[in-house]
Amino acid sequence: MHAEDRTTHLFVGTMKGLFHFTSTDRATWQRISFDFAEQPVYTTAFDPSTGTLFAGVNGDFFGMTVQRSQDLGASWKATATAPSYGADDPEKVTRVWSFLPSPEEGEGVVYAGVEASGLFRSADGGDTWTEVASLRRHPTHETWNPGNGGKCLHTIRRDPNDPDRLYIAASAGGIYRSDDRGTSWRPVSKGIRSDFMPEPMRYPESGQCVHKFGMPAGKAGRIWLQNHGGVYRSDDGGDTWVRVDEELPSDFGFPVVAHPHNPDSAWIVPLGGDGGRWCVNHQLGVYRTDNAGNSWRSQHQGLPDQVWTGVLRNAMTADREPEVGLYFGTTVGGVWSSPDEGDSWHEAARNLPRVLSVEVVGPRR
């Protein structure tokens, strides 16, 4: 891309296909294209090292495909194969929920997280896939169960401070860490609550319904985590967790976004727990902390109230500009952007299908 190109690309995956928008000010948007009609798009991910954009397209009729674009969504082509468990496996791969392009491990390396929860790795840009079988072979795998959205491995991250260290989270299953690039895994969920278990069993080793986690650069071991009940922070790579939701109007929500430049800052979208899972007080908005979760403030300038909607786990993200841009989509098909770290919000689109995923490809990749 030309050095002076200031275009930001927004890829919005919905229940009925993938929308592509662009903007040069991150406030006013133009719709460029629409692909994969009728098919739910649970995740998209961009690999800046190769310029490859991946989309997980979870069609009801013809199954899941991994789609790849080398021209920022102008054209797409399915990879030669998609992740699949063996013919005799009691579980089936029905959806892809997450990608992690991993140039740290070699050109063309990409991970995929799938439903039923499992992890796959490709070394050829997605054409062939091998299960990272050590994860499902972990003795705690029997504690994994489907959440309301399915039994899904929805988040994969590489520790920005340690390239050998990988994390995944599954709902329900918990958060797991590998210190050897996926060769072995252990749950790092101890201390995270499982509301849905009997009282004496609410802090198990695994099985938690972790909704999302994020990791900032610049502070080794820090993880932000939105649980099915509870917002948590870890400063030691998940070995221990502290709750940071005391000041929040609700401890329930789906996404959490780590500030890309400031490890003490993060954003979440609190939803009314079991009372409908809509934005608290029907005010669409995010909450931000700048002091490691000790306090939070609401950011909703420009966002509507009287809404009956929420934001799903893969439907919020941030770019890497010096003044960070934020982006989210709602369950009633609204898409919003903030060019100033949440201080003001602008409507990028309305009346789309239910938004499942949002990926941004900004000028700084």
């Binding site: 009609a37 009728e38 009729f61 013809f62 199954g63 495909t65 030669a80 699949s84 089936k92």
Partner: protein, 91 residues
């Protein structure tokens, strides 16, 4: 010869014609194998990992629902019309 009718969405994605004629094949599994050879990716979209038809697809051999006649083992007589259809589902 066997005449195969494909859903438009599937044909378009794989660059296949919506209708194509192939040589005689004994059963639905062999028809799918032939389609895979002609248009790679077809098997993945029509069958699951265990080789059975995807649950939201219907395959008719002439006027017989293959799923009720052995699934991918359903026989395909020479001269048959094979219809691959999206089942009545969705929202």
């Amino acid at each position: 010869m066997i005449r195969v009718h494909l859903p438009r969405q599937l044909a378009d994605e794989l660059g296949a014609p919506a209708q194509l004629t192939i040589g005689p094949e004994p059963d639905v599994a062999a028809v799918i194998a032939r389609l895979e050879a002609l248009h790679p990716g077809m098997r993945q979209r029509l069958t699951e990992a265990d080789g059975n038809l995807r649950p939201h697809l219907a395959v008719y051999v002439d006027e017989r629902d293959a799923r009720r006649h052995g699934g991918v083992a359903a026989t395909v007589p020479d001269g048959a019309e094979v219809w691959v259809l999206r089942a009545v589902s969705g929202g």
